[in-house]
């Protein structure tokens, strides 16, 4: 089983997925990340999938769920580096990634995450708006 490291850099947790993850390792990663959030009291979570060239419904759902789960504990999540081919495939597949914030690369993602953490206090109104639009679960 592959074990992906979860790094803390300043206030953020950074997870870089560099190998093809099997389903079991993906679920383990999910648990690891949430435990690290609890342990390190991180303010935000960044998942870097630049190196991932296949995201099927299982993996896509896992990424989405991590974002939703992290939000229930507090920290906002950003996914960075999704390859164009992966983005096309996920949309064609029909997977709803509602509630997952994305950025082009690590640098932009970190900037965005900082702003998300700052803006989190103003979250109330956004959520309200999303809700009236029939916005989906948890993120």
């Amino acid at each position: 089983m592959e074990r992906i490291p979860v790094l803390k850099i300043s206030d953020f947790l950074i997870v870089t997925i560099q190998v093809a993850l099997d389903d079991e390792s993906a679920l383990k990663l999910q648990e690891d990340i949430l435990e690290e959030i609890a342990k390190t009291k991180a303010k935000g979570l960044l998942i870097d999938i630049t190196a991932v060239d296949i995201v099927d419904s299982f993996m896509g759902r896992m990424i989405r769920d991590i974002a939703r789960m992290a939000r229930l504990m507090g920290p906002p999540t950003i996914v960075v580096g999704m390859q164009p081919a992966v983005a096309i495939t996920l949309v064609e597949l029909g997977l709803k990634m509602t509630g997952v914030s994305c950025a082009l690369n690590l640098e932009k993602g970190l900037l965005m995450l900082k702003e998300m953490v700052e803006a989190k206090e103003r979250e109330e109104r956004t959520l309200e708006a999303e809700e009236t639009e029939g916005y989906e679960a948890g993120a």
Partner: protein, 134 residues
């Protein structure tokens, strides 16, 4: 002409990864671009997972299609599992007997150019998918 390139045995989570990576490599060699490689590999990942989840074990056969009119890839995902009682239902979005998303079968259909499902109760399931070079 149909030329078998590889056969991958599928019995566990790791085999799903092997199957999708093999298919990706062959798709690339056949001449598919990055997006089609991703579509084909993702489709195979969905079907291989279904083999592991619903039939325990099976195999994925990767073949090159080299007709004069149509060139491309064909992947046959086969198992001797319980079979799919209602194929139409299984092909509809959100239907699952496994508590997951119910997106694998309809999603595969969307990603590929063609998809044939054969299944018989107690005998197993054979799903053939094809993608052609444009």
């Amino acid at each position: 002409m149909r030329q078998v390139l590889e056969e991958v045995a599928v019995r566990n989570n790791t085999d799903i990864v092997t199957a999708r990576n093999s298919v990706r490599t062959h798709a690339k060699q056949i001449g598919f671009g990055l997006v089609d490689q991703s579509r084909i590999a993702t489709a195979v990942s969905e079907l291989a997972r279904n083999i592991v989840v619903y039939a325990k074990s099976g195999k994925v056969e990767i073949a090159k299609l080299n007709e004069d009119s149509k060139k491309g890839i064909e992947v046959v995902c086969e198992d001797n599992g319980p079979g799919i009682p209602d194929i139409e239902q299984a092909m509809s979005e959100g239907f699952t007997t496994g508590g997951s998303l119910g997106m694998g079968m309809p999603g595969t259909k969307k990603l590929m150019d063609a998809m044939d499902v054969w299944s018989e109760a107690g005998k197993g399931t054979r799903i053939t998918i094809r993608k052609f070079l444009k």
